[in-house]
Amino acid sequence: MDVFLDTFLNWQIVQDAWPILWQGLQATLLLSALVVPLGILGGVIIAVLSTVRSPWVKWPLRAWVDTFRALPPLVLLIFIFAGLPFIGLDVGAWGAVAIGFFLNTGAYYGEILRAGIESIPRGQIEAARSTGLTRGQTMVNVVLPQAVRNVLPDLISNTLEVVKLTSIASVVALPELLFQARQAQSVTYNATPIMVAAVVYFILLWPLVRVLSRLENRQLAGRR
């Protein structure tokens, strides 16, 4: 027990490592504030394009979405970060993360929003158009607000996954929480910084998990 406490919850090391971890936490929050809106933007673009019924749009779009859903995000990130510089495109860690997340999480948000849009009866769209609203106005004022409400649990769930996924940025040396914890561990030869990082992630995300668990239970239980 003493060995465990000494290695994983060493108070002295918590105090020493906290400034480094705090910087990491700030970067993680900043990163999340960057990639969540980027992913949603990508998702909205995909979802709106998916309402176009021409096969010239539909099939390439589906191939695009499935490709980025099939490719593990870390593979995509490393490809952008370590591969593109060979042809002179060095976008840096932040740039690589931004592009990778736009492509990957955009595909996921896109699928969710598409399901939401499809849940709106066609009659509503026809009714909105017949009152004189344009195609764009119908989308923004009638379809999207209801679509978002219908798939809210999935949107929250995906957002939770995106925030968790920011930890892979540590692989390309972006100094977020996990990266900083690894740095602190290698200086102190003690696992406490990683443990603290885990606790910080848990405190940060637990409320979201609780809300989600309730929403999902209600959703599935409501299908009796």
Binding site: V3, A70, P72, L74, A82, G83, R182, Y189, I194
Partner: protein, 226 residues
């Protein structure tokens, strides 16, 4: 060299690709084995926890809920790093493969427990009571009446979640497992050419593209008709 030549020489260099293809194929096998081990153990553990929760023992259920929440909130990479780089400081050494397997199994266990449990609670209380009143025991009711209905509605969310978590096997490359990504990374640093990464990306697409399409099909096939 023109831009196009430079592009193909970097990303589709036949010589480099031929050289590292065997390594990538080995990595492919390892990724598949790792993924199957995670799916088997994770789903079994998740179902076991959900069944345990059905007994309704209060303190035990709180513990289950906490464990599930814990592994839903923690990023998989953090768990892998903690197991692989953290435990050795306490004298416990896990191989990269075991650390990745254990971490992703725990994550899949948490997510699948949640889905199995939602499936079990979706079966109306009246069915429990009716089954019990005909003389079936608690376990018989669970096994013959509740689970068959519960499992059916859990199939679409479970498939999608399993696919998403299985893709996390690429994280194992961070702890030096020579899976597809690990082999590709090693290839890039030896050859100083990113073609192995292209091969790796293609390998992942070969592996997961059919799975994603299958998941899409299952979702529409098992969709709950209201």
């Amino acid at each position: 060299m023109t831009g196009w030549e430079r592009f193909t020489d970097s990303f589709f260099n036949a010589r480099v690709m031929a050289q590292y293809l065997p390594k990538i194929i080995e990595g492919f096998g390892l990724t598949v084995v790792l993924a199957l081990c995670i799916i088997a153990a994770g789903l079994a553990a998740g179902l076991a926890l959900a069944l345990l929760r059905a007994f309704g023992i209060r303190p035990l259920n709180w513990l289950i809920i906490f464990v599930v929440d814990l592994f839903r909130a923690l990023p998989p990479l953090v768990i892998i790093v903690l197991l692989f780089f953290g435990l050795p400081n306490a004298g416990v050494e896990l191989s990269g493969f075991v650390a990745s397997w254990l971490a992703l199994t725990l994550v899949l266990m948490a997510f699948s427990e949640e889905i199995f449990w939602a499936g079990i609670t979706s079966v109306a209380k009246g069915q429990w009571e009716a089954a019990r009143s005909t003389g079936l025991g608690f376990l018989q009711t669970l096994g013959y009446v509740v689970l068959p209905q519960a499992l059916r509605i859990t199939i679409p969310p479970l498939t999608n979640r399993t696919i998403a978590i299985t893709k996390g096997t690429a994280l194992a490359s961070v702890v030096a497992v020579p899976d597809i990504l690990g082999a590709a990374n090693a290839g890039v640093s030896f050859s100083f050419n990113p073609s192995p990464l292209t091969l790796g990306a293609i390998a992942y697409l070969v592996l997961f593209f059919p799975v994603v399409v299958l998941g899409r099909w299952i979702e529409s096939r098992f969709a709950w008709k209201r």
